[in-house]
């Protein structure tokens, strides 16, 4: 093996990636982690350009420039509420790159183990492309967010996947003779990606986005095997395992299994049950609610996806300020699956300048709920639904929830009485200590802020 400068540089790049991920463990060091990972990528790109087999530069440079020109506005202009969509699109781009490289390598006439690695790379790559685009469509609401299920869906989907794998095996066995199968294989992978997302509802997006992240990483990893490139293997494996463990964490936070998320069609089953008669609820005006909030000693705010939709995070931060000024102890309770991607709520509240030590995880805050005067729920439903604990027949039975029902007063900001995403009725609305605050989250919180600050004088 001839020595080339890229070899030690690749090791350095791999070190930078690992060091970067390690620093992500705490907010205090996280930015250092990103810089380290950026440095790793820069080293990887520059040292690849220095490889002796890379001789023609013009298209590479143009490609890098075009990608940068597209990438910068995406990153800079994207509002924080759209972060899940951006992640999905970005995943589709990364997976597309991986799939196309695999395709080109295949047509170079590889054989043996390399072909097997290429098949895995392109299978994961192509299915992640369409799956990510579908996820994007659902998040952006081009496509209906509700899960679409049909009879025999599981068998149909697995049939498509099985066929794709069968073609792949055929190609591996005889890469030259069966090369004609390759376009069909690609088509099947693309179709499977679409089918994979069709039955998945918006509430399961955190799990799915994480899982697709994992696939994109594993695809890069398979490319590493095909090209005999250890740096690709390491970076791909880091991404693959991170996406995988995040999706496990998300599943656990919903008390559901992987297969249930992927094939469960969550939310569809329940729609029939929801049509019960209207029960009386207590509602309150902003004035009344503000008075209770202002007189409380402790307030816990529980944000959900509705906060993101209404863009209410900045108003909530103002409410937080106004209450703190009056000596109220305010905390935020964050459910692991609130929102459309892991950690979604934290980013939105951080954007609104809420100090992150006020964002409390579920396990830590639930113990305090019984001592809390008021919980204010903004755009969340299933994650505070006591049915998860009390009703074994409920579709969300067993899902860990934020124990809002234990606090002395519960306030829920909601547009109307329609059930939440999963279509499940919520007992919490009908409790005696519950006040429903009907209205748009953003404008309602704005009037709360006004009242709380005015009462103070």
């Amino acid at each position: 093996m001839n020595f080339e400068i890229y070899q030690p540089l690749y090791i350095l790049a791999a070190f930078c990636f690992i060091f970067g991920l390690k620093n992500m463990s705490s907010p205090a060091t996280a930015r250092r982690g990103v810089i380290s990972a950026e440095l790793g990528m820069l080293i990887a790109v520059v040292s690849t350009l220095l490889r002796h087999e890379v001789v023609s530069y013009e298209w590479i440079i143009i490609g890098l420039l075009v990608g940068t020109v597209i990438g910068i506005p995406i990153a800079v202009l994207m509002p924080m509420t759209a972060v899940p969509q951006r992640t999905a699109v970005s995943q589709a781009c990364g997976a597309l790159a991986s799939a196309l490289i695999g395709t080109a390598e295949f047509y170079k006439g590889q054989h043996g183990f390399t072909v097997a690695a290429l098949m895995l790379e392109t299978l994961l790559g192509f299915l992640t492309v369409t799956a990510s685009l579908m996820a994007w469509g659902k998040l952006q609401e081009f496509l209906p967010g509700r899960p679409i299920t049909f009879k025999g869906q599981l068998f149909f989907n697995l049939g498509i996947l099985g066929l794709a794998i069968a073609f792949a095996i055929g190609i591996v066995v005889d890469p030259v003779g069966n090369a004609g199968l390759y376009p069909y294989f690609v088509a099947l992978a693309l179709i499977f990606g679409v089918l994979l997302i069709v039955p998945i509802g918006g509430a399961d997006m955190p799990t799915v986005i994480a899982l697709l992240n994992s696939y994109a990483g594993l695809s890069a990893c398979a490319m590493g095997f095909a090209l005999d490139n250890k740096l690709l293997i390491i970076a791909g494996a880091l991404d693959g395992s991170s996406g995988f463990i995040l999706s496990i964490i998300m599943c656990r936070a919903m008390n559901r299994s992987f297969s249930n998320v992927l094939f469960g069609g969550f939310g569809q089953v329940v729609a029939a049950v929801a049509g019960k008669e209207a029960r009386p609820v207590r509602s309150a005006t902003p004035e009344e609610a503000a008075e209770i909030l202002g007189d409380a000693r402790s307030v816990v705010i529980i944000p959900g996806y509705g906060m993101a939709v209404a863009q209410a995070q900045h108003k909530i931060r103002e409410l937080y300020d106004a209450l703190i000024k009056r000596g109220v102890d305010v905390k935020f309770a964050i459910h692991p699956v609130a929102g459309r991607m892991p950690g979604h709520m934290n980013v939105l509240l951080a954007e609104a300048d809420v100090p992150y030590d006020k964002l409390i995880e579920m396990e830590d805050i639930n113990g305090e709920m019984a001592m809390t005067d008021v919980t204010l729920i903004v755009g969340a439903n299933d994650i505070v639904n006591p049915a998860a604990l009390n009703d074994p027949t409920s579709p969300i039975a067993g899902m860990p929830i934020l124990d809002a029902y234990k606090s002395r007063t519960v306030m829920i900001i909601k547009r109307g009485m329609s059930p939440g995403f999963a279509g499940i009725d919520n007992e919490l609305y009908y409790m005696d200590k519950t006040l429903m605050l009907f209205g748009d989250a953003k404008s309602f919180v704005a009037s709360l802020v006004k009242e709380v600050s005015a009462n103070h004088n």
């Binding site: 990972a37 781009c93 991404d239």
Partner: protein
């Protein structure tokens, strides 16, 4: 080519990934996903090799070029937005307004 060695690397890296990610606070799950998503754009390396080769076929050149563009898009936007997000995580700032 040494596949066996590749599998050792894969196993260790995957294990390391699991251990590192498990320790990440849920607070940072979104930036973490953006970052690992950006790291996955390491496929740009493969794209550069593919499109830079001396006698690459037209197919390789075309697919390689598209791959460079899309991997770079992934890379640039992934890193920039991760950094933008992390900039927002502050402990306690001097009172605004």
């Amino acid at each position: 080519m040494n596949y066996e060695f590749g599998f050792y690397v894969f196993m260790l890296a995957a294990f390391l990934g699991f251990e590192l990610i498990r320790k990440v606070s849920p607070l940072l799950h979104t930036p973490l996903m953006s970052l690992t998503n950006a790291i996955a754009s390491i496929s740009v390396v493969g794209a550069i090799i593919l499109s830079g080769e001396k006698d690459a076929s037209t197919l390789s050149r075309v697919l390689g070029f598209i791959a460079v563009v899309s991997a770079t898009t992934n890379l640039v936007s992934g890193y920039l937005i991760t950094d933008r997000m992390l900039k927002m995580f502050k402990k306690r700032e001097p009172g605004r307004k």
